[in-house]
Symmetry: C2
Subunit: 166 residues, 2 copies
Amino acid sequence: MPWFEDIPLGVTSELGAYTFTQDAIIAFARKYDPQPFHIDPVAAVASHFGGIVASGWHTSAVWMKLMVRSRTGVAETPDADGRVPPAGGPSPGFLDMRWPAPVRAGDTIRYTTTTLEKVDLKSRPTIGLIRSRNEAYNQHGETVMHFIGQGLIQRREPLVLHTEDK
Amino acid sequence: MPWFEDIPLGVTSELGAYTFTQDAIIAFARKYDPQPFHIDPVAAVASHFGGIVASGWHTSAVWMKLMVRSRTGVAETPDADGRVPPAGGPSPGFLDMRWPAPVRAGDTIRYTTTTLEKVDLKSRPTIGLIRSRNEAYNQHGETVMHFIGQGLIQRREPLVLHTEDK
């Protein structure tokens, strides 16, 4: 990650794509979301979906995997001042995860992230909060996932807090 | 799941507990969230967290596993009218996932769910939307996860839509 101060807003990055095989869908769901329409090809045909679909948690976990991969190595390059930018920080959580269309076996899903908001935190002067809009599309261009992500990123310089005169 | 009409609001259910071993934390994170503080015990000590912590996605995926387990078998019992209630439906997504405290290796996390809102949907008269508040606590009573879940549940009787006089 760059330093908090250096992150531009409104920039969309491609995180990569992932093909959800039926085997991978079933393996994930057996472990974390064993509902019939995720793990049983026969029962899935009779379900609301008409066939095997990926757990939404699987679609979301692949986003995390691609996001981490996109950052790997970035932190190792010193910036113009010779300082090593942060490797990316923890997340306090995220907002409004939506799965508006199913991910079916064989679908190739493309993930993007767009920087949306930078938040100065009075409580943590050395860290800033970045909010991003994350989207995933299938091969037909339909949106299959979107949510607002949040990440805590180190600032190059601590935030100067102004205290009001008394 | 019971029918939509029969779900009471304000009821908290225990979903069960899960102990996050260091091995399980690392295995999940290697696959989906390979950040140093999730997969590398030595690097984790030097991190913000001071030791290995579970990926928030892991904490959330275990909720899904326990939620599905809590519903297993419920759908197989016919109700007083001899009709078989639904097995639980898909989710359109969830709201405001928060991980306010880390889950550390060896922590035992207890999960609860509380029914919060029932939403009639003009767009889908045979299905209702249930919102629930889901919480997870460690053995010290600290909240480590909370979010608003959403589930689409079959109605016993279709919603009657009123059209205004013209």
